[in-house]
């Protein structure tokens, strides 16, 4: 399983303006691979979001007679699963849950960890110590272990998975955001702003967030594929999403014995996880290089 990349980025102290973002956009447009990946991800998100209106078969309704039909069966373009449910519909609906559980924790951790890091970095002193030492404790657990431990303790369920994955991703994001904020805080113009009597919130809002957001954002995007693989892994272990919900990791699990009947069919959910995570990684790389962030 992919480990969370803990390398803390160098804090770029560039002030990002409009020219910077248009430059980023232009560079992205010249990068076909990143665009393709963006397309794939968008397609997945859109089809997941609009799944109920795509005229798909019912992903929950199966037929025992029509179970494990091969790929290409008329009426079931990607075959049927171990309960005779349409694989195509389940993969699309499965993307819905998989992406939701794979991306939401990163988004939540981005806000929570980002805030914690900015507060710690800006306030310094005992607040910094308090927050960062607590984060250190969570950081002492390998990410996979922590996710499995929390999910294992809480038991299966969508909410429990979200909670455990969010807890896993808060510490690394807090660290990055604290490092970047401390870097920005040391800059002269922040001192000047503080000296001129602006209150802390204003300084944070105007000066710090503008500078800190993009490095944290870039870092957070690099975590999405890890998070998705991990989320699917929890379901695969049986401590994530519960049946009969369609979710790729869980489908991989329930189709495991079908590997002897129809190997291609049972490989499909794994393939979906692989392709999606590949695209998320390439996309994050593309964005990273377009924003001129060094590895």
């Amino acid at each position: 399983m992919t480990a969370v990349d803990v390398t803390v980025l160098d804090a770029p102290a560039t002030v990002s303006g409009q020219g910077y973002w248009s430059g980023v956009g232009a560079r992205l447009l010249r990068d076909p691979l990143t665009l393709i990946c963006l397309g794939v991800i968008l397609l997945l998100i859109l089809s997941a979001a609009f799944a109920p209106w795509l005229g798909l078969a019912d992903p929950y309704k199966g037929s025992m007679i029509a179970r494990l039909k091969p790929i290409g069966t008329p009426g079931h373009i990607l075959g049927t699963d171990e309960q005779g449910r349409d694989m195509f519909a389940r993969l699309i609906y499965g993307g819905r849950l998989t992406l939701f559980i794979g991306l939401t924790p990163v988004v939540l951790a981005f806000f929570i960890g980002g805030t914690l890091g900015i507060v710690a970095g800006y306030a310094g002193g005992w607040i910094n110590t308090g927050i960062m030492r607590t984060v250190d404790v969570f950081f002492a657990f390998p990410s996979v272990l922590l996710a499995i431990a929390i999910s294992g303790a809480l038991g299966a369920g969508i909410v429990n998975s979200l909670v455990s994955l969010t807890i896993v991703f808060i510490p690394p994001i807090t660290r990055v955001s604290e490092a970047v904020t401390s870097g920005v805080r040391a800059l002269d113009y922040i001192d000047a702003a503080r000296a001129s009597g602006a209150n802390a919130l204003t300084v944070i809002r105007v000066h710090v967030i503008g500078n800190v957001l993009s490095p944290i954002f870039v870092y957070a995007t690099s975590l999405t594929s890890v998070c998705m693989i991990l989320a699917a892994g929890l379901s695969f272990l049986g401590i994530g999403v519960r049946p009969p919900e369609p979710e790729w990791g869980l489908m991989l699990n329930t189709l495991r014995s079908a590997i002897y009947v129809n190997p291609w069919l049972s490989a499909l959910p794994g393939l979906m996880i692989f392709v999606t995570s590949l695209c998320l990684n390439l996309l994050s790389d593309g964005v990273r290089s377009a924003m001129n962030v060094r590895d």
Binding site: A140, F141, S143, L145, S225, F236, L252
Partner: protein
Amino acid sequence: MFSYFLRRVILMLPVAFGVSVICFLLVQIAPGDPLTAIMPVDATADEQAAMRAIYGLDKPLPVQYAIWISNLAQGDMGKSIASGRPVAGEVFGAVQNSLILALSAAVVAFPIGIFLGFLAGYFRDTLLDRAVTAISIAGVSVPNYWLGIVLVIIFSVNLGWLPSMGAGPGGSQDWSWDWLHIRHLVLPAVTLAVVPIGIVARTVRALAGDLLTMDFVQALYAKGMSRGDVLRHVARNAAATALSVMGLQLGYLLGGSILIETVFNWPGSGFLLSNAIFQRDLPLLQGTILVLALFFVTMNLVVDVAQAAIDPRIKRS
């Protein structure tokens, strides 16, 4: 150097304490009764209460923690609810097996990763670079639990070349480094190595690429150093960072092998952990997580100290 080491050890203590609190609390948030798994389904309420008292589960939380931590200090991690055996013995045996697996995966992954990364960094922006990048991204993107299943089907079930499960013909107790046992290690170690290959290759590529374009390298060339000497110089500079990444990866391999160990029935800590989770075996769950987390903390310490030894500048920061 010694004072730096001492300082790092002292810094580690509150983290270790925090880790123990989390491990303890973790299992308290668990719903359901841990004794369910081991009692016959038709055990009476009295029998259940008696069992609960034996495991101290009828006492208040802080008391349970105090008992747990003071026993821990004496090396007693309690007894597994499901098996009745001492947790310490079970966990350390399993961690040993996990270490065998993690080290083997590292032996596969690190040289390949470093080699690929160096190639890509040295020949930056060539076709070779792109190929290596593709391989490393694929490596970190593949759900390895799925890869493991696929490898079992191909190499165990269809071709019959390698065993699909276990740690050797006689179990893990008589482990030795001969082919009879290493056969069992091949598939899980290769599966586990895929992700670190990707990560190490990416890190080394970036390091090598950056260093080669830096001013001092140009200066070295200007001083008339040979290509080989420059490479050696660059390698030493990169070593500190590469070491830290690999050290952490080893920790992740140990803590992250749970899914792989489940797929391959490898009798390691991850396998133990998943058994503990499904049997709601709280003392075992606690003990396994604690030992793995403390190992990881120690690993971090070792990496930091080693890094400081190689590159003295780090000590100051």
